[in-house]
């Protein structure tokens, strides 16, 4: 059983939902990333999502775009990313998910990238520009190695939700809004309807995590009350890291994580 699957089973037994916390590696530097990870672990996050920067992050809003630019300027490379993951793996047994764009995997070759990531301690991948139609090679390379987390949107048809669910393992990533990451729109009625539809189509076969624009304990509470099995918070963490001095990052992240995690215990 994968670490992600085990985590969801463990939470279910405790009657809890999952908090998935995203940070961009190397933003603003590697030390900050390690401090933030410590904070996430202490604050009780259930899954850590690590962003690896891409030069052209077209599904991301300004906060993650900026973090990607800073991280790349700081010289973030794939090999030092894998070394960092190994360090994080020594710090925690939590599931680690990598979010990046298709070209990063393609450039190294899907099988090579996936094997190296797995070896470093990555449990799953999220690729926002990988549609299921183009995913054959990627899925073959990932099979039996790591979880492939695909995304669904509020406008995804029932038929497609079922197809995407078949290709997905770990959890299904439900994009809450029409928009890019980190854009605050408030909680829309169409999102609530869409979450219910996705839950219906997936028939509890796979957990559904809701992300994009989820930034506060109130958001977490609301999405969980309408059926989300997990919530994904990203840009809010990056904003906090950006405004916090290096030596306070761990402490601030711990406190914010706790405030979010509290809302997942029902």
């Amino acid at each position: 059983m994968s670490r992600i699957k085990e985590k969801f089973a463990e939470l279910k037994a405790k009657n809890e939902k999952a908090l998935i916390s995203y940070i961009m590696v190397g933003f603003p530097n590697e030390r900050a990333t390690l401090s933030a990870v410590k904070g996430l672990v202490k604050g009780g996050t259930d899954i850590i999502e690590l962003g690896f920067p891409f030069s052209d992050p077209l599904a991301d809003g300004p906060v993650i775009q900026n973090a990607s630019t800073v991280s790349l300027k700081n010289g973030t490379k794939i090999n030092n990313f894998f070394s960092l993951v190994k360090k994080i793996r020594k710090m925690t047994g939590l599931p680690l998910v990598l979010m990046t764009y298709t070209n990063i995997l393609y450039a190294r070759g899907y099988p090579k990238f996936i094997s190296e990531a797995k070896k470093a301690g990555i449990d799953g991948f999220i690729l926002p520009d990988m549609s299921i139609e183009e995913s054959k090679e990627y899925l073959n390379a990932a099979k039996g190695k790591i979880d492939t987390i695909f995304l669904v949107s509020p406008n995804t048809s029932k038929e497609r939700i079922r197809k995407i669910t078949q290709a997905t393992s770990g959890f299904l990533y439900m994009v809450a809004i029409y928009g890019t990451t980190g854009v605050k729109t408030g909680i829309k009625n169409y999102t609530i309807k869409a979450i219910k539809e996705v839950k219906k189509q997936t028939k509890a076969k796979i957990p559904v995590g809701v992300g994009f624009g989820v930034s506060s304990p109130a958001d977490v509470k609301k999405y969980i009350s309408v059926g989300a099995d997990a919530v994904i918070v990203g840009s809010a963490f990056l904003k906090l890291i950006e405004k916090t001095p290096q030596n306070k990052i761990e402490q601030k992240i711990t406190a914010f994580t706790k405030s979010l995690k509290k809302q997942t215990r029902i």
Binding site: S153, N155, T156, Y178
Partner: protein, 396 residues
């Protein structure tokens, strides 16, 4: 390739897009397939191309240039005379008509040199639609006349300050807008790039160029041209020129921007120096580093300053039907001045890349042979840029 199965030209193309855009792209493909052979749609498109945009454009025998170079006969396909000043109008009229059939209320577009933005603003003005155009901040400065034109035509221009502040970043930002407003917005892509069906749809709308070349050459020489040359950034004028001639004997040459030289690292010659990868929804050749990060490009012409290329060009490179060469900024300035002074035609800097190639090629061929060069746009927008270049680099 007639209509790419699964959106692929060989291994190139496809749809690497966020899930939110999948229904929009499917809706677009369904409507495109429905209307592309629809009689009344074609009639309306042809009406606007002829009466509004000024088609057919002339195939002009450049006698002075031919004599000056001394070799094959050079013909210019005068897309610079099309309304708006470039070939872009062929595509924008087609797509705006399609957007109207799809009941879309809002049009967004990206632009590099501003020619696609201007052609979008014009097509939207005449067909009664609202448009917003994303343009790299760097490009808004070096092509500011086109920014003024778009504003006057009623289009809202959004300068894009992320990344390299050029065409690539304008496309990123237009895609982000599309993701956000997918329910009412039509994304009018200006080149033969992006996710399927854009590359094939833009090619089809631009193929009027190659079709006219074929019939005009037949009238003049009763044969197809021996050589056909067009510049390649994203590659829409080139694919529109080449596609109808693919099954002929004509030698086809695409010309990329070699900037300060292919070895300098400051260029945009994707097919000459790139590797395969995924960007803007497509698998194609890209300028990128070993880790898959897209690298910054350079060209004196904003319209060719792009690290990717249409997927069908990647396919035609690999199957060797088309040759892809390049021209440096310095060669382009020489070609720009030569055409201006011999023929009294001021070409766009993009199109001057194709002229630079014909200068090299024509002298190696006999007088009985003919070369057609697609002059994709006029150069009024570039005169300031050229003057600045000349002030910095002393040239005759």
């Amino acid at each position: 390739m007639k209509y790419p199965k699964n959106g692929r030209f060989g291994e190139f193309g496809g749809k690497y897009i966020p899930e939110t855009l999948v229904p929009a792209v499917q809706e677009l493909e369904e409507n495109y397939l429905k209307f592309k052979n629809d009689k009344s749609f074609k009639k309306e498109l042809n009406y606007y191309l002829k009466q509004y945009a000024g088609r057919p454009t002339p195939l002009y025998f450049a006698k002075n240039l031919t004599e000056k170079i001394g070799g094959a006969r050079i013909y210019l396909k005068r897309e610079d005379l099309l309304h708006g000043g470039a070939h872009k109008m062929n595509n924008t009229i087609g797509q705006v008509l399609l957007a109207k059939k799809m009941n879309k209320k809002r049009i967004i577009a990206e632009t590099g040199a501003g020619q696609h933005g201007v052609a979008t603003a014009m097509a939207c003005a005449v067909l009664g639609m609202k448009s917003e155009v994303y343009m790299g901040y760097k490009d808004t400065l070096r092509q500011k006349l086109n920014v003024f034109r778009m504003n006057m035509l009623g289009s809202k221009v959004h300068p894009v300050k992320s990344g390299s502040q050029t065409l690539k970043d304008a496309i990123n930002e237009a895609i982000r807008d599309w993701i956000t407003n997918v329910e009412n917005t039509y994304y009018l892509l200006g080149s033969a790039v992006g996710p399927h069906p854009y590359p094939v749809m833009v090619r089809d709308f631009q193929s009027v160029i190659g079709k006219e070349i074929k019939s005009q050459m037949k009238k003049i020489h009763n044969k197809t041209p021996d050589i056909v040359i067009a510049c390649v950034g994203g590659g829409s004028n080139a694919i529109g020129t080449f596609y109808p001639l693919i099954d002929t004997e004509a030698e086809l040459i695409g010309v990329e921007a070699a900037g300060k030289g292919l070895k300098s690292g400051f260029h945009s010659a994707t097919l000459s120096a790139g590797t395969k990868g995924v960007l803007h929804g497509m698998m194609t050749y890209l300028l990128q580093d070993k880790e898959g990060q897209i690298t910054e490009t350079h060209s004196i012409s904003a319209g060719l300053d792009y690290p990717g290329v249409g997927p069908e060009h990647s396919y035609l490179k690999d199957n060797k039907r088309v040759k892809y060469h390049s021209a440096t900024d310095s060669e382009v300035i020489d070609a720009f001045l030569l055409l201006t002074r011999t023929e009294g035609i001021i070409p766009a800097l993009e199109s001057a890349h194709a002229i630079a190639e014909v200068i090299k090629v024509a002298k190696r061929h006999k007088k009985s042979e003919s070369i057609v060069v697609t002059l994709s746009g006029r150069g009024d927008k570039d005169v300031e840029e050229v003057q600045n270049y000349l002030d910095k680099n002393v040239k005759d």
